[in-house]
Symmetry: C2
Subunit: 361 residues, 2 copies
């Protein structure tokens, strides 16, 4: 047998480390929510177990109904995925091939590249125009891409883009603009209002971050019914299982719990940002559940070695954060997920020890 | 934006009807297990819910370990999928393209065709050589396919193929032979022994049927480590969620419950087969959890109209079975999943009424 040529030099996506049993790890490397999901999930899931011998609702209709109500949309504007990764993949499979190209901002979520490689399409990387991760809408509209992935709020920087910028981009772009709003619940703005006027936008969301369901794989996308219908054509028949549907529905129904957890995270994000700024560490204003900061050593020096040194110092203390060495815009920074208050305290204490080891001998 | 040309005339897969709330439906149309999953699933799943804020084990390693032990394999010979459909799709994506063709027996599981269409590869349909669903190994080996899907035991006929036939097929076929053993737990034989000698075989399984987990989407595949490594390259990073991993592990650990349910199903399969044969209905000897039978009316007449008439008669009584009108080998038959004893009794009573309505006025 032969492996298809498309995959000859393919490299699969590398997620952050997921330790199985490191004991008391402080896990701030994959932007998980530090709080468990809504208590109502237990009852919903338990009720569903006795029905597991039966196939799930193929289209996850009860979830489409709930989400369309939540966001004031028609249910034909919503599709559910096995994680938003599933939906990003459906976009690549529907709107790209050896002629139809895909674009992304570089750097952003590196899974886009993986999905495009598996499909055998060409990828267009659009660079940022400054080190504050500003992009030029014209660079996207004239990119020649048929499909463009725009992470907003952006990862790994955490910054947001204004609704005006997103609108301008979508209006001038002839292809499908996927606005990946994985972190939008932590931001002040969302691109949702644009759905009223523009047909070439798809907004993807996930319950992994803001709803504490990373372990469950539940994403959804919102857009024009014709786009949704196209993605449904390629979607696996039973892509979301019964327990995932039940747990997601229970979580979305418990908006009170959602708000409480969100508030705690935003509070710690502010605390962390303040502390980094007090140390004169350049820190991108975050609209997400992580902070992207540029560590300085005790002498105020920044650089790759400094960032890597802090990364390794924290790793030795079983504090996992994320370091992206492969891009000049990221290789002097660390990305740190927001955890519980006590985890943030331990993190800051450890950073203090790294900066001034002599004080802590 | 443009939809890729590959998908211009694409038709998505149509599963059997999945009623949400028909009240007391007797559901014998999608080969689900009539019994709930092992009671141990409840505890395993409940325990996992508090960890749902954390991503799952990306490769589902505890499940790979368990399955490799269960079947006496190395764990490098096992991969886990979001249903076996996920794994079939990974095969298509890895081993087909516009040059590398895919083959299947016609008729068999129609999802193969859907997956191949989405990929834009060419499909080769190999017909059976008689109406007992016998195939010619030479037709497969000389088909020119790089990847071949062989459903064994076969669906929708339910018949098995001998290990000798499968071996002969794999030995003479230059591509990857995927033996789709979705129903193998209900059969006397499996192709597993062939893994010792042949590197071009991949055996796929599902927990949907024999382990009562259709609602969960859990499949696995076993084959040479090089094939598994290739599929892992294309697999979505977190393709199987925490609850699915936990429930599957608990189910596989409860082999006692598995055997008890299996026994009950095999007993009802024998009962149903005997009753159809007593009525002189041609019935393919089943190695699955369904029976494929050719209904005769009271005058001993068979045909499309007869099969459709019984299908509709049962549907009116909320008994769902499956009718495949699109192929001359299937359009005079019905496929009936094995249910609980009381469901089989109601089914047989209804068939009796359909045959002799005057008796039941």
């Amino acid at each position: 047998m032969q492996v298809t040529k498309r995959l000859e030099s393919h490299q699969s996506y590398s997620p952050g480390v997921q330790p199985d049993s490191w004991g008391s790890v402080i896990k701030l490397n994959t932007n998980e929510n530090p709080y468990p999901p809504s208590p109502s999930v237990i009852e919903a899931v338990t009720k569903e177990i006795s029905l597991l011998n039966l196939y799930p609702n193929p289209a996850s209709m009860p979830l489409r109904d709930k989400i369309s109500q939540l966001f004031g949309l028609d249910k034909k504007q919503v599709i559910i995925g096995n994680g938003s990764d599933d939906l990003l993949n459906l976009c690549v499979r529907s709107f790209s091939d050896d002629k139809l190209k895909v674009g992304m901002l570089d750097p952003s979520y590196s899974l886009y590249k993986t999905l495009v490689n598996v499909q055998g399409a060409n990828l267009i990387n659009i660079p940022f125009i400054d080190d504050e991760f500003t992009f030029d809408p014209k660079a996207i509209s004239s990119s020649g891409a048929n499909l463009f992935f725009l992470t907003s709020p952006h990862a790994p920087s955490g910054r947001s883009f204004s609704l005006q910028t997103l609108k301008k981009t979508a209006e001038s772009f002839p292809g499908l603009l996927v606005i990946d709003e994985a972190y939008a619940d932590f931001a002040a703005e969302t691109a949702l209002p644009l759905l009223n006027d523009l047909e070439n936008i798809l907004i993807t969301r996930t319950l992994s971050k803001s709803y504490s369901l990373a372990g469950l794989r539940l994403g959804f996308a919102m857009g024009h019914p014709s786009i949704i219908a196209q993605l449904d054509q390629v979607r696996e028949v039973y892509n979301v299982d019964r327990l995932a549907q039940a747990a997601a529905l229970a979580s979305l129904n418990d908006q009170n719990y959602f708000s409480i957890c969100l508030e705690k995270i935003l509070e710690q994000r502010q605390r962390l940002t303040n502390q980094f700024e007090a140390m004169n560490w350049r820190t991108i204003p975050s609209s997400t559940n992580f902070v992207f900061t540029q560590p300085c050593d005790a002498n105020g020096v920044i650089g790759e070695k400094i960032a890597l040194s802090l990364f390794e110092f924290l790793l030795q203390r079983k504090i996992l954060v994320r370091y992206f060495p492969d891009h000049p815009l990221t290789n002097t920074f660390l990305r740190i997920s927001i955890g519980k208050p006590e985890e943030m305290t331990i993190l800051m204490d450890s950073i203090e020890k790294w900066k001034c080891p002599e004080k802590h001998l």
